[in-house]
């Protein structure tokens, strides 16, 4: 049963990821990326990370991608033009990427043979209680630093995007 869930959502994730890269209009890429994030949230549930699955949908799919969709709608970006593409880049790039993928997959298969397996309930420390406890005890300094980082990002975005006062 977990195998079926994994296969369905992994295939959805890969198809949507290919769609992100291949589609010409940015809004189709953005919607496909939302699909990737949604299927990854289900895979996080399979891995027992329930708080992270909810955070993925709330923060990533529900806020960051809405921001992307907003900017695409505001800029009214049309489809990408085909001129200016270098054929040499594609000729060299695709085999190198396939090599990278093969190398990563081979290393993964060597390190983790069939022994380790994933099933529902295999990892129970992903509850909000455990994540919160770790966040506010072991990782308190990174937490405070990221809050300052977010403040800097807010200030930066406001300064960059406001209208110039003449």
């Amino acid at each position: 049963m977990e195998v079926v869930i994994f296969l369905v959502f992994a295939i959805i994730a890969v198809v949507c990821a290919i769609n992100v890269v291949v589609q010409t209009h940015p809004i189709s890429s953005a919607i496909s990326l939302v699909g990737v994030m949604g299927s990854l949230a289900v895979l996080y549930l399979l891995l027992g990370a329930e708080f992270l699955a909810a955070a993925q949908v709330i923060v990533y799919a529900g806020a960051v991608m809405v921001l992307f969709v907003f900017v695409i709608m505001l800029l009214n970006a049309g489809t990408e033009s085909r001129k200016g593409r270098s054929f040499m880049v594609q000729l060299l790039g695709v085999p190198l990427l396939v090599t990278l993928l093969g190398l990563l997959a081979y290393i993964v298969q060597r390190i983790y043979p069939i022994g380790a397996s994933v099933h529902f309930g295999g990892f129970t420390q992903g509850t909000p209680r455990d994540v919160g406890r770790a966040l506010f005890s072991t990782y308190l300094l990174p937490f405070e630093v990221t809050s300052i980082l977010i403040l800097i990002a807010i200030l930066g975005a406001i300064v960059l995007a406001r209208k110039e006062l003449d």
Binding site: I31, V57, A63
Partner: protein, 393 residues
């Protein structure tokens, strides 16, 4: 395992049927209430007191010509209402309507499923509801629709912030994210409800939650994105028949979700305001008996000639329902359901009442209100709640 699947299927069918009927009749209630606020009868002719009006509306919408304009972006145009209504119906699956009951020998919750991250699930799904509106505005290829869609999306994501902060404050008191356990921590009477308990009664959180809830569901006074006299019809300008109907159903389902979440978080869910030992099980009986007597009285002194036939029938129906509440075998599931529906219904009535009363905000007033007033107030509220909870524990 088999019993679980069968019981779950039965629950899904029951909840779906009741929900669809409620959505249709919520529109009837809204039209009648707004009509009476404006001193006119409202839907009156189709069936007794307009009770068959939703049926007539459904027939009209289904048989209308389903026009897909040629200049729209078809995949997104067709997906947007589907997305809107899916994301607005999903939270109903985690809302508990009552305690654990025994159905044919099996114990089950009066809830489709109890997630232990229930509150986060509702927040997550309502964040995804923004896409339905944004894509509807974009795909319609029409500047009014695009403006309406953009404004509505910006409004919804801006008001998600005070909404989340207002949800976080009673969670500090209840210490659980599961909706069923949240209600269980508020058991015991009105002084245990989150709105009145703990070191800091959550009255501010309740008000902030309701205001943010109004904005999330695009209701007056925050309904500029779909106002008829501002933007033609906003983001659903180019939609017709069933797709248009699904946007309206999505709006009413969102209203039901926000009201249900407010009762679960602040008003104690399905628990009675005072314990059953002091007679709270007689409260619905008294309420329905009074309604029945009033209906019978107006039946004998009718304001209009039609009322002479319909009001006595309603009176008798109400008295029968009051009698049903006295039966001992329905006490353990009907009474919690009654309290839950009474509280949610009161909040829905507040939604409709405010629609009939307040004018709408201008868009810059709306955005200024959230970023400059509501968000700092929600943060201060959360801070004070946290400090007081830490002080007193």
């Amino acid at each position: 395992m088999d019993a679980f699947i069968v019981i779950s299927l039965i629950k899904v069918l029951v909840v779906f049927a009741v929900l669809m009927t409620t959505l249709a009749y919520l529109q009837w209630v809204e039209r009648k209430v707004i009509a009476h606020i404006q001193v006119r009868p409202g839907p009156y002719r189709v069936g007794p007191h307009g009770l068959l009006q939703p049926l007539a509306d459904v027939v009209k919408l289904v048989t209308k010509e389903d026009l897909v304009p040629p200049y729209v972006n078809k995949p997104l145009y067709l997906a947007a209402p589907f997305l809107a209504i899916t994301m607005s119906l999903l939270p109903i699956s985690v809302i508990p309507f009552g305690p654990a009951i025994a159905v044919a020998g099996h114990q089950t919750y009066m809830q489709l499923t109890d997630l232990n991250i229930g509150v986060l699930f509702v927040l997550a799904v309502s964040s995804m509801g923004v896409y339905g509106i944004a894509l509807a505005g974009w795909s319609s290829n029409n500047k009014y629709a695009l403006l309406g869609g953009l404004r509505s999306s910006a409004q919804m994501i801006s008001y998600e912030l005070p909404l989340s902060l207002a949800i976080a404050a009673p969670l500090l008191l209840s210490n659980t994210l599961s909706l069923h356990d949240l209600v269980l921590t508020q058991d015991g009477g009105i002084w245990h409800w989150n709105i009145l308990r703990g070191p800091f009664p959550q009255i501010f959180s309740f008000v902030i939650f309701l205001i943010a809830g109004f904005a999330e569901t695009n209701r007056v006074p925050f309904d500029l994105p779909e106002a008829e006299n501002e933007l033609v019809a906003g983001f659903h300008t180019e939609y017709s028949s069933m797709k248009f109907a699904s946007f309206f159903m999505a709006e009413y389902a969102n209203m039901i979700t926000v009201s249900s979440m407010a009762t679960l978080l602040f008003l104690g869910g399905w628990t009675a305001p005072w314990p059953a030992a002091y007679g709270s099980s007689l409260a619905p009986v008294v309420i329905f008996a009074i309604a029945g007597v009033v209906a019978l009285y107006h039946g004998f002194h009718p304001a209009r000639r039609r009322d002479q036939r319909t009001f006595p029938v309603f009176g008798v129906i109400f008295l029968i329902i009051a009698g049903v509440f006295l039966l001992p075998m329905v006490q353990d599931w009907l009474l919690p359901l009654f309290w839950f529906c009474a509280k949610t219904g009161t909040l829905l009535f507040a939604f409709i009442w405010i629609r009939g009363t307040l004018p709408r905000f201008r868009y810059d007033q709306l955005m200024g209100f959230t970023w400059k007033f509501l968000f700092p107030v929600a943060m201060a509220n959360l801070l004070v709640t946290g400090l007081l909870v830490a002080w007193f524990s």
